[in-house]
Symmetry: C2
Subunit: 262 residues, 2 copies
Amino acid sequence: MALPPEFLTAAAEAADLAGAVIRPLFRSRLLIESKGDATPVTEADRAAERALRAFLTERFPAHGILGEEYGAEREGAEWLWVLDPIDGTRAFLTGRPLFGTLIGLMHRGRPVLGVIDQPVTGERWIGEAGQGTRFRAAADAPFAPVRSRPCAALGEAEFACTSPDVFTPLELQAHDAVRRQVRRTSWGGDCYIYGLIALGLIDLVVEAGLKPWDWAALVPILEGAGGSMTDWRGERLTLGSAGDVIAAGDLGLVGQVVAALA
Amino acid sequence: MALPPEFLTAAAEAADLAGAVIRPLFRSRLLIESKGDATPVTEADRAAERALRAFLTERFPAHGILGEEYGAEREGAEWLWVLDPIDGTRAFLTGRPLFGTLIGLMHRGRPVLGVIDQPVTGERWIGEAGQGTRFRAAADAPFAPVRSRPCAALGEAEFACTSPDVFTPLELQAHDAVRRQVRRTSWGGDCYIYGLIALGLIDLVVEAGLKPWDWAALVPILEGAGGSMTDWRGERLTLGSAGDVIAAGDLGLVGQVVAALA
């Protein structure tokens, strides 16, 4: 079952809206002078989320909204928009164009639509339940279907992670157990590295401490590209999940990762 | 003393040349199918270095050349070009546009000219001894002067590093000693994070295991932006250096880092 087309249109318009708020602040004098203080970013994040909420509420008054900065409204609604205007605050603060705006839509608790937007490069991923994931490489480039690549064995996996600092000490031990088995590991990237799984360039990301607004948009993008995104037991992510995630380009990897983490 | 202008022109043309070889391979089918095997990247690296060597030898027959893939020619020459067509192989392989082409020029063992070029985004940094560092944000954008930002205390520093895997266990202990004192740490970036120091967005990078082609181009860019790049004792980098580096946006940080590392 395809989603009503106006949901996709709204998600794309919402990403444009957020980008217009966020883009002028990237590498701005304000950020340089704030010297690592995240306050200006928090303010941009809040301003973008307010714009998204106003837009989506007007477009779909019966839908719920859950966002990083302003919490939940109508959380029990059939359709729930899940928003993170700036995923990758640290990348944004340090001038790396690997942060992203995340716009997800859940239907009765299942993520069914997701957008990752990189407002500086213009890259955008769109995933929709039951449909193939699409990607554009620049704001003026056409969308094209993308797929994750086959990778049957953990020992062949290109592994990536935002930072070792996202883990508790126990989680880090489990993560290290995976890391010792993969082919190679690289660091940095937030939502962007999940997008790179959908492009077939990374095979596996294992992280912890994610909130629903960090993963809701990613699930349809991974699934639509032929991969998956689950918790550390290989179970479907829900609003009550603890926030530990396995994102894999090849479904055959998931069981191996679950075993290595256990 | 300003350099002969034809040296700057040649460095910029060399960066264009390398970009034309490298850009078509970024996120290409070939890289996706190589599944983490670096061979296609090594081949692009070699092809780009061959193009750079042919170009620079024709332009400056008496100059020496030192490159990652093909070693040294006329290493004792007064002027020595130091080349790394793809710094950040792993970023390149995984589709992150944070790798760079590095073109450095040394005069009697001192780095006097450096270019960092990001061939996908078109970003380019140019540093020249005794002159201010310049940066353009896109291939069609104008160059503008850039400066690192003040950061007098280690406890205020925005710290970055490519990967914890660049260190030996002893080096990692020393690096951790710095990391415990900084304001915040982020991961990933290779040459790109040194460029972000010159933009005033990161304050400090401490790494080890660098080769001359990894740092020769960076020194004039850091120095021309008001910062510095030294070894872990705060001494000037030379062709005989071990490859441990401190890159700081504020000269006042260097002594504190040296003390923390010791």
